[in-house]
């Protein structure tokens, strides 16, 4: 086989010369991830709150989201193709459904963990249920919820690459295109960026969590 550069795992020159391809793939991937987790959160919050308030809903909600989670992404894409075509929407819908199980479970776990005494105290102070939820319960549940967002984000970063199989712009597409050139470095870059993106998002969200819940830090410092 000729040109050994093509086989190099890290051909820096190629990376330098083709930053537009790398950048657009990364950008599209970030958009997909943020959109999927964002939309998932919007759907999961009411579901989680409902499952916490009316316990009987928990099993069916977890059941349905669990089933959705179990359907492999390629199959999910295949189900959608006749209806949504080969667009970003086709990739987005399964990705959103994958976040649901993780987010709902963590939202419920977070809300469940709010001590009963605190809820009683709020009731005693005349808080309405809605106000109690928004001002007391959700903030206290925040660490667990953000933990869920972190897991969901990392999971979606990995899963979104399957969109590359359908030639939808993403890091997965970068991997496929690169392999087709055939430039092995593109595959390396695709994987490396995927991991880097996941780690970065994870750390960012961890930072957000620390910012939003200073009291948990205080409790830890007190050696609980």
């Amino acid at each position: 086989m000729l040109a050994s550069n093509v086989d190099r795992w890290l051909w820096w020159d190629w990376i330098g010369r083709n930053t537009d391809l790398i950048w657009s793939s990364l950008r599209e991937h970030v958009i997909l991830t943020v959109a999927a987790v964002g939309i998932g959160l919007v759907i999961a919050l009411p579901l989680g709150v409902a499952a916490n308030r009316w316990r009987v809903l928990y099993a069916p909600i977890i059941g349905v989201t669990g089933v959705l989670f179990t359907i492999p992404s390629l199959a999910a894409f295949a189900f959608l193709l006749p209806y949504t075509g080969l667009t970003r929407t086709t990739a987005l819908i399964p990705l959103v459904s994958y976040t649901l199980l993780i987010l709902v479970r963590n939202i419920v776990a977070g809300l469940d963990a709010v001590p009963a005494e605190i809820k009683d105290a709020a009731d005693g102070m005349g808080f309405s249920r809605a106000r109690r939820l928004v001002r007391i319960e959700l903030p206290l549940a925040l660490p667990t919820i953000i933990a869920g967002i972190r897991i969901a984000t990392v999971t979606i970063v990995g899963l979104a690459a399957v969109a590359g199989l359908l030639a939808i712009p993403s890091l997965g597409n970068l991997i496929y295109v690169g392999q087709n050139r055939p430039i092995r470095t593109a595959v390396t870059v695709g994987i490396a960026l995927s991991i880097a993106l996941a780690v970065t998002a994870d750390l960012l969200l961890l930072g957000v969590q620390r910012l939003l819940t200073p009291w948990s830090r205080v409790r830890r410092e007190r050696g609980s």
Partner: protein
């Protein structure tokens, strides 16, 4: 505890039984001749890989397959000293590069600018550019601008145009050529390269989300009509494709010389061993070779079916 162990035992037995069934031999693998009467020549095997993509090329390189279906514009053929078998029976229809433009965006100046590209896009030029991107790792934009530096593009195009491409080098390069030609002609161009597969970018072209994409005279017709009458005659195929395209709001301009047709490729070693130069030579081979191609190959007249009916080859089922 005992009932738990019992359950565990039952469960594991079930799992193992399932696996055992899975590992069981397949009795229903038939090996029937799909051709019938052709004498001489062994029965070949077909393996479904991808459409002239990396999987197929890797397989050819490793020797997992003997014959690969690739595209004539693929830089890997020259780079690896592979042998492209000549299509001596004219099985393959033409598939010249051609600008496909959303009919609403067609103006005289746009047409002139794009046709200026088609005029100079020869087979060698395309192969060189593809090799530069595939093997030398150049950016398609740079390769295209180098090429255009030696050409004068007629000026006068105006407006905002969006140029898209598919995911493979040939398409990206050609799209860059179109985009830069339009820009130097005076239009404002937005590039949406790597748009996706044909079933992604063609609807976008029809809807107007994209204005210009590089297409192929032959395979484009099949998208609109799976039984389109596209042949090795360029004039005739152009007519057919143009009619189908116009009916969907797409205008095809002038075809380039460069094309990207189905090509059956073997390694130099294989060619030497069996004395292969044309596709017809394959009919003389007395050992069961393996052909690697896209999954749809067995159902395509241009692929396995054509090899059987036109070249008299035999394949296992």
């Amino acid at each position: 505890m005992r009932s738990n162990r019992f359950r565990l035992l039952v469960a594991s037995t079930a799992v193992l039984a399932l696996l055992g069934a899975a590992c069981g031999d397949d009795d229903d693998t038939a090996t029937t001749d799909t051709s019938g009467e052709a004498e001489g020549g062994a029965t070949f095997e077909f393996v479904a890989l991808d459409a002239g993509g990396p999987i197929t090329k890797d397989a050819l390189e490793k020797g997992d397959i003997d014959i690969a279906l690739l595209f004539s514009s693929d830089g890997a053929i020259a780079a690896n000293d592979w042998v492209a078998l000549e299509d001596d029976q004219d099985l393959q229809p033409v598939d010249n590069f051609i600008p496909a433009v959303n009919s609403a965006a067609v103006t005289e100046e746009v047409t002139a600018a794009l046709n200026a590209v088609s005029d100079v896009l020869t087979v060698e030029a395309m192969q060189e550019m593809v090799a530069a991107v595939s093997i030398d790792g150049e950016n398609p934009a740079d390769v295209a601008s180098d090429f255009l530096a030696d050409i004068t593009v007629p000026e006068g195009a105006t407006g905002d145009l969006t140029v898209g491409s598919a995911n493979f080098a040939e398409s990206e390069i050609t799209a860059e050529l179109y985009a830069q030609a339009l820009e130097s002609s005076g239009a404002t161009v937005e590039k949406k390269l790597q748009f996706g597969a044909r079933d992604a970018y063609l609807p976008a072209l029809i809807s107007g989300e994209l204005d210009v994409v590089p297409e192929f005279v032959g395979t484009l017709a099949y998208y609109f009509d799976a039984n389109a009458d596209v042949t090795a005659d360029l004039e005739h195929s152009l007519e057919v494709s143009r009619a189908l395209a116009e009916a969907n709001g797409v205008t095809l301009l002038e075809p380039a010389e460069a094309d990207s047709i189905n090509t059956f490729v073997v390694t130099q070693e294989t060619a030497d061993e069996y004395g292969l130069e044309t596709v017809s030579d394959l009919a003389e081979v007395d050992e069961p070779l393996v052909l690697g191609g896209p999954p749809e190959c067995p159902e395509r007249p241009l692929c396995l079916q054509g090899l059987v009916s036109v070249y008299g080859l035999k394949f296992q089922d």
